[in-house]
Symmetry: C2
Subunit: 249 residues, 2 copies
């Protein structure tokens, strides 16, 4: 028989679907692709221009409908920034994207009255990328930027950005960076990244205690190391029960 | 052979794909579904709360970050509305969604200075649905609302909404409503709806001149009727050429 998809001949042992199912599946695929196109158009429509993008593109002297600015008051090392460059934004946009900003701006807190929101422990680049994400749902990530944005997303409860950064960091996970990622995920309440890093660590328990990062973690935060051992033991017990449920019962 | 999808037996004449292509297609389908989930999450993130929704949900006395209002100054029949109910909105949002609003609000025109945008020939309900769409990319359509929103979308150059309304009206097209839709599409520059209505009319040319709407259209705008005949003739000529290219050459 000839496959209607790849046009190659095949024997009955390699048979897949009947023609009717093939045609149905092709229709489903077409429908899904149309749905994707519609959703992409919707995303484009709903995207806001970022004021800084707009500033850049239109060579404007004043940013686009900006009524508030964010400034990086302290850089990542905790050093106070003497002349921070403000990142322009819009109150309604910030409030729409983050419940923390909403509370801040609705309740006539200091930030709302002064028109300046100070953000500590962040670089200008990360702050600008954060605001751009709030406008457009887009960010250009590398490892460092993904960590910086995850921290901001956690702090300002922007769940969509947090998930986006977690997915990126999970895609970059390997044995070399699993321990630092595990510690980072713990610190910033990133459950999916934590689980992924922990799985990877548990697959390599025999090599764990030789790693430099392991010794550092034991010194810095031994409870996290205890949690690794607890998870490992619990997994071993579960595996034993699954293998031999009678003996355990 | 047994189909791996529907589990029914089939003979080689009903064979569809080989197993490898079936597995690939299943993977593709899963990937497309994941992409759809991601895009839906993005749409939800990018959606703005509509001030009127927010007003409703939160029992607020003042709308959410509203800095401008829209009012229906004249209803659909052209009658001036003595006490129009204002629809609250946000300048940055309006400017982000419509180049017409952007020009209006950036250039210190009357509307920008007064904080009120008057919209003529529209009901309060349609105006409110229009503003809600600008915030959320969602609308609950019936035939009348789809026409009202298409008119507003054309006037304020909100292409995404225009396409949305056109798709809805095309899905409702039938021989009974094809002539009014043809006239409406012509008037508001709705190319896709125009083409769809024209196709349907041309399939029923023998019944055309008996229709009441046909006579009305001849009285009101005979040029549109001429265009129907021109399109019909052009289609006939093309079909003849395709059937007998030699005779024509």
């Amino acid at each position: 028989m000839k496959c209607v998809s790849c046009k190659e001949d095949y024997g009955s042992s390699d048979a897949g679907t009947c023609r009717e199912c093939y045609e149905e599946a092709s229709e489903t695929e077409e429908e899904l692709k149309r749905e994707i196109e519609d959703l992409k158009a919707k995303v484009n429509f709903l995207r806001f221009w970022s004021p800084s993008q707009h500033l850049h593109q239109q060579q404007r002297t004043t940013p686009f409908f900006s009524d508030i600015v964010l400034v990086a008051s302290h850089d990542e090392s905790g050093k106070s920034t003497p002349y921070p460059v403000p990142v322009p934004a819009n109150r309604a946009l910030l409030a729409s994207r983050s419940p923390v900003f909403r509370a801040m701006l609705e309740n006539e807190m200091e930030e709302s009255l002064s028109g300046t929101i100070k953000i500590s422990d962040v670089s200008y680049e990360a702050l600008r990328a954060f605001v751009t994400y709030l406008y457009t749902a887009d960010a250009c990530l590398d490892d460092l930027m993904a960590c910086d944005l995850l921290v901001l997303a956690e702090k300002y409860q922007v769940n969509h950005l947090k998930t986006y950064c977690e997915k990126f960091l999970i895609s970059k996970l390997n044995w070399e960076n699993s321990l630092p990622n595990y510690g980072f995920a713990h610190q910033h309440n990133a459950k999916k990244l934590l689980d992924a890093a922990l799985s990877l660590i548990m697959e390599n328990m025999d090599k764990l205690s030789n790693r430099e990062e392991y010794k550092e973690l034991v010194d810095k935060d031994p409870r996290l190391v205890v949690e690794i051992y607890e998870a490992y033991l619990s997994k071993q017990v579960n595996t034993a029960v699954q293998k031999d449920p009678v003996a355990k019962a």
